[in-house]
Subunit: 160 residues, 2 copies
């Protein structure tokens, strides 16, 4: 099992090498494909409440926890996860999501919401469902996928 620890400033270059191809591909995250490194750092490190990485010596993945809405919705968090290509299929995403749920509860959150899980991303949907998330909504043709064209986006939710 990977170890999970808070991200430190010195980790950013290696995180960016993991995140950049994901954002440039534009196939999973609703992020501008030409996002600058500075904007990505703001999104992944500065805006979230906490950012983590999974490691076994090598960096295997990273995720953030942030508040999804403010005011009356501030008890709901949002997380985003990226697994390194060489670490796929080793339970890294599962470990990160499980950790994030525990940590979110500690931070006082009472639910976790994913705002757009692409219907084309069957592996992610199956994993989140296994980890207790439900599809609570579907946004029709919500995402313009570079290879697949318009695909639906699911809103997924777990009460913590």
């Amino acid at each position: 099992m990977p170890q999970i620890r808070r991200v430190e400033p010195a980790d950013w270059p290696i995180l960016w090498r993991m995140l950049e191809p994901v954002f440039r591909a534009g196939e999973t995250y609703a992020v501008a494909r030409d996002i600058s490194e500075a904007a990505a750092k703001t999104m992944w490190i500065d805006t979230p409440v906490e950012t983590y990485l999974a490691t076994d010596g090598d960096i295997l993945g990273t995720f953030y926890i942030k508040t999804n809405h403010q005011g009356g919705g501030a008890h709901v968090c949002n997380c985003g996860y990226v697994t390194a290509p060489m670490a796929q299929g080793r339970g890294v995403a599962s470990a990160m999501c499980t950790f994030s749920q525990t940590r979110a509860r500690e931070l006082g959150y009472r639910a976790m919401q994913f705002n757009m899980v692409l219907a084309s991303n069957g592996g992610a949907i199956a994993l989140w469902q296994k980890l207790g998330f439900d599809i609570v909504g579907t946004l029709p043709a919500a995402f313009d996928h570079p290879r697949l064209g318009m695909v639906d986006g699911h809103v997924m939710w777990k009460t913590l």
Copy 2:
């Protein structure tokens, strides 16, 4: 019917007098109840693509149009509307939403998404449905309402 025009910098003080009690009440928008005037201006004026007001001489309401997601989701916009208390029941929200849909199409958006319409806000839900929106998802106990406690939030969607 009210006239609808772009907001100008000089309009902000009167818009803030309309928005502040809405945000302070915390009963409709997922915005921090103690939001500062500067943060509210950023949210309502600076971040959106365009911000409008409805007027018949008096300011009757205001709304913004912004991009809801980036990247592959950038063809979906989000709008927020506030009607002045003295102008309730006069079709102002309907006029603003109708205008915003037309304008969103002109701006190239292909759908409009409301991220959290409170289940307690029956008037809004009925109006948005009348104007072509569907409830595509429901977030359970997503909003801590000051008077009603936990209420569900609906995700509403219209393909433009």
